[in-house]
């Protein structure tokens, strides 16, 4: 059925613009994506992963093309050939980083510092690439965060991490000397390590807040710019809730593990195998699944409920128990099918997460005009995001 553009025709121009809730729907199909995924997988394997950027472009086109806001899909415009260049760059960086760690801790530390130094720049480039290559109703989006902002946003997480890594590097030889001389290791280093660990934990919600504020404060569409009005206090609140949930889940997990370990003491291969397969592994997966579902659902709600632009408001009502049930079902089926259920799982999770969102628009979008900023052409940022596992999705 063809989309009939009726916006301008319905509302008389003199009336005050009304706020309209735009339905968000995801029409992707698990069975169709399964076929796409498996053919992509074969091509990736036989090309020794060189096909990955092309597969990624196809995946993004499929997922965005099936994301409909008010019936109109999100377009993906990324050029797979450019994404390929970015992919090669990221593979090189990854190999050098991985190999350096094997040969000497000093080289590994150096590589880590270099990676830390470029990471915020790569992250920002990835955001720029994804947004500039996403469109709604033909108009491209844009990410306007500055380079300095990216570094500032990551500061609370990087500084204690670097201190910890450096301290542990100096700690190893110092500890060896100490055991040889039967004396205590230098207390200054020990205090530094403990302090940086505590700082990492204490500053983690703050870095969360700054990163999300940077991300959600610079999305542009047709003259609209988003802001995130949620302060660090709410992120600390979320972190405490997550901690509480982890204690509760951890308690149940420990009980299950106790049972499992007890069963392992019985001298029967069948009982031990059953203990691992039916008690220990499910307990472990359930614990991780619970934590990730809780954090994911609450974070999506927190961040999107506080994001708005002058004429657009976002709402997210993702329920924790719905996401938990889905996650556990996905993990179970993925394990039982040795991974073949994976594409169905991804589609189902995306549907749940997207259909929990609503977009409320004020005014007539027909009258809006695209920004005239230049298109983002460098695709190496995008590859960095996927290669090192950071999810850059909207």
């Amino acid at each position: 059925m063809q989309i009939e553009p009726t916006w301008g025709a319905e509302a008389p121009p003199s009336a005050a613009p009304a706020a309209r809730a735009l339905p968000v729907a995801f029409t992707g199909s698990g069975s169709e994506y399964f076929r796409i995924w498996i053919v992509n997988l074969l091509l990736i394997i036989v090309t020794l992963t060189l096909y990955t950027p092309f597969a990624r472009a196809r995946r993004l086109t499929y997922f965005q093309g099936n994301t409909r806001i008010d019936g109109h899909a999100l377009g993906f415009h990324g050029n797979p050939r450019k994404m390929f260049r970015g992919y090669l760059l990221m593979v090189l960086l990854g190999v050098v980083y991985g190999a350096s760690g094997q040969f000497s801790p000093a080289v590994g530390l150096f590589a880590f510092c270099v990676l830390a130094a470029v990471w915020p720049a790569l992250w920002r480039a990835s955001l720029q690439f994804r947004l500039a290559n996403t469109s709604w109703r033909g108009v491209r989006m844009r990410f306007s965060g500055k380079l300095q902002g990216a570094y500032t946003a990551m500061l609370p997480s990087f500084v204690p991490a670097i201190a910890l890594v450096a301290a542990s590097q100096f700690m190893q030889p110092a500890a060896a000397e100490a055991t040889a001389a039967a004396s205590k290791p230098p207390m200054a280093l020990v205090w530094l390590m403990m302090a940086s660990m505590l700082a990492m934990i204490a500053l983690f919600p703050l870095s969360w807040a700054w990163i999300k504020r940077y991300q959600h404060g610079h999305y542009h569409y047709a003259g609209e710019q988003t802001t995130l009005s949620v302060g660090p206090r709410r992120f600390y609140g979320l972190a405490l809730n997550v901690f509480g949930v982890s204690l509760l889940a951890g308690l149940i997990f420990s009980v299950a593990m106790g049972v499992g370990v007890g069963l392992m003491a019985i001298d029967s291969v069948a009982v031990r195998a059953a203990a691992i397969a039916l008690v220990i592994a499910p307990a472990y997966l359930t614990f991780l699944g619970t934590l990730s579902s809780y954090t994911g659902a609450r974070l999506q709600n927190l961040v999107w409920n506080g994001t708005r632009s002058p004429h657009v408001e976002f709402r997210s009502q993702l329920l924790f128990n719905a996401l938990l049930r889905l996650t556990l079902k996905n993990v179970l089926l993925t394990v039982l099918t040795l991974g073949l259920y994976r594409p169905f799982a991804v589609i189902a999770t995306t549907r749940l997460k997207l259909q929990a969102m609503t977009v409320t628009l004020e005014g007539e979008v027909d009258q809006w005009v695209a920004d005239t900023a230049s298109r983002m052409d460098d695709a190496s940022g995008d590859a960095a995001g996927d290669f090192f596992g950071i999810d850059m999705g909207l």
Binding site: E4, A9, G65, L340
Partner: protein, 360 residues
């Protein structure tokens, strides 16, 4: 002719259009039969009319679900909701690539699945070992020695204690090893560079043990020497086994292979939570290390035979190790448990005993 929607890329406003394909050209004409176009006419806006070469359009791939988006040069775009209708209309100018045909048919997908599995199995069974050999050959000996020294330093820092064996005993064992290797070596190919270190396991769960580190560092624990103090021939057999690891550079191969196997596992489970990928990687690794142990056992057999010793003497090692484990377990009040074979990095004791016993 197809009725569709056009976006000019400068505004989110949707335009109803008619699309015509003629030869190498795509014509986009504003549709005069919708109220929107009539409004344009009222405002005296020019009616939309574009001609674009077909090959300059980025045509969407055929799918069942999803909106069809065709990107036009200059940032404009066509958006069509009814996938099958679009595919039927565009089929004449946009033939399916074989990739798309594979993705849209279950037979194609099944074939792709079978090929993927076959390729993965081939890579694991053959590709990874071959690639490892090539990569290992490229690593200079100095770098490998550095790796081994790093490892020994971290063992020492981690609780491995200096040996309490008298210096004469250590010298005797060293000399016995050199003599045995000398007798077993072929003329013109001396045994690989190696250094024998003595250490005490102390409170570490190593117990009687010997291991080889990359670059030729051999480590043997006091506990093992004490266990076999009346049988220097068995000690030589154990050290010869470790020399097998050194000769074949197993330590370095393990490192390279581990990286390749986890890379393989993460390719398959690519866009996913990391914790699921480590399990197949670990399981896959274990099979390789069992092959290494078999190679090392063969080396031990070779050296023993060259020294006029029966390889069957090694059976004593397994018997005494089992007794020692039993004693440990009884002291702790529990029973030692054997994990299923896939997790064990050595072939089962029974298999190794059989090899030594039947070696001729």
């Amino acid at each position: 002719m197809l009725r569709s929607t056009y976006f000019d890329g400068r505004s989110p406003k949707a335009h109803a259009v008619r699309l015509h394909l003629s030869g190498d050209w795509l014509e986009i004409v504003g549709d005069t039969e919708t109220s929107d176009a009539r409004q344009d006419a009222d405002n005296a806006a020019p009616r939309l009319h574009l001609r674009i070469p077909v090959r300059e359009v980025q045509w969407p791939e055929r799918q069942r679900h999803g909106v069809r988006l065709a990107h036009l040069p200059g940032g404009a775009m066509l958006s069509h909701d009814d996938g099958p209708a679009w595919d039927a209309w565009a089929a004449s100018v946009v033939p399916d690539t074989w990739v798309v045909r594979g993705m849209q048919s279950w037979r194609g997908a099944l074939l792709a699945g079978v090929f993927s599995i076959a390729t993965l199995v081939a890579a694991w069974a053959w590709g990874v070992p071959v690639a490892t050999r090539a990569l290992v050959a490229a690593v200079p000996a100095g770098l490998e020695a550095e790796l081994g020294e790093q490892a020994l330093r971290s063992f020492d820092a981690g609780g491995l204690l200096p040996s309490r064996l008298p210096a004469t005993r250590q010298a005797a064992i060293r000399q016995a090893l050199e003599d045995a290797l000398q007798r077993a070596s072929r003329p013109g190919s001396p045994p690989p560079a190696h250094t024998l270190h003595f250490r005490r396991a102390g409170r570490l769960p190593l117990g009687p043990n010997a291991f080889a580190l990359p670059g030729g560092s051999l480590v043997v624990t006091d506990e093992l020497v004490t266990l076999l103090e009346d049988r220097p021939d068995v000690i030589t057999g154990v050290l010869a086994h470790e020399m097998g690891h050194v000769r074949h550079r197993h330590g370095l191969r393990m490192v390279v292979q581990a990286s390749l196997v986890s890379a393989l596992a993460s390719v398959v489970l690519g866009d996913t939570t990391g914790w699921l990928a480590t399990v197949p990687a670990v399981l896959g690794q274990q099979a390789y290390s069992r092959d290494f142990e078999r190679e090392a056992d063969d080396e031990s057999i070779r050296v023993l035979r060259a020294n006029q010793l029966s390889p069957a003497v090694m059976v004593l090692l397994f018997e005494r190790l089992r007794e020692a484990r039993q004693k440990d377990a009884d002291d702790d009040g529990g029973r030692p448990f054997a994990l299923p074979i896939a997790i064990a990095s050595h072939p089962s004791d029974e298999e190794r005993i059989a090899r030594f016993r039947h070696a001729r």
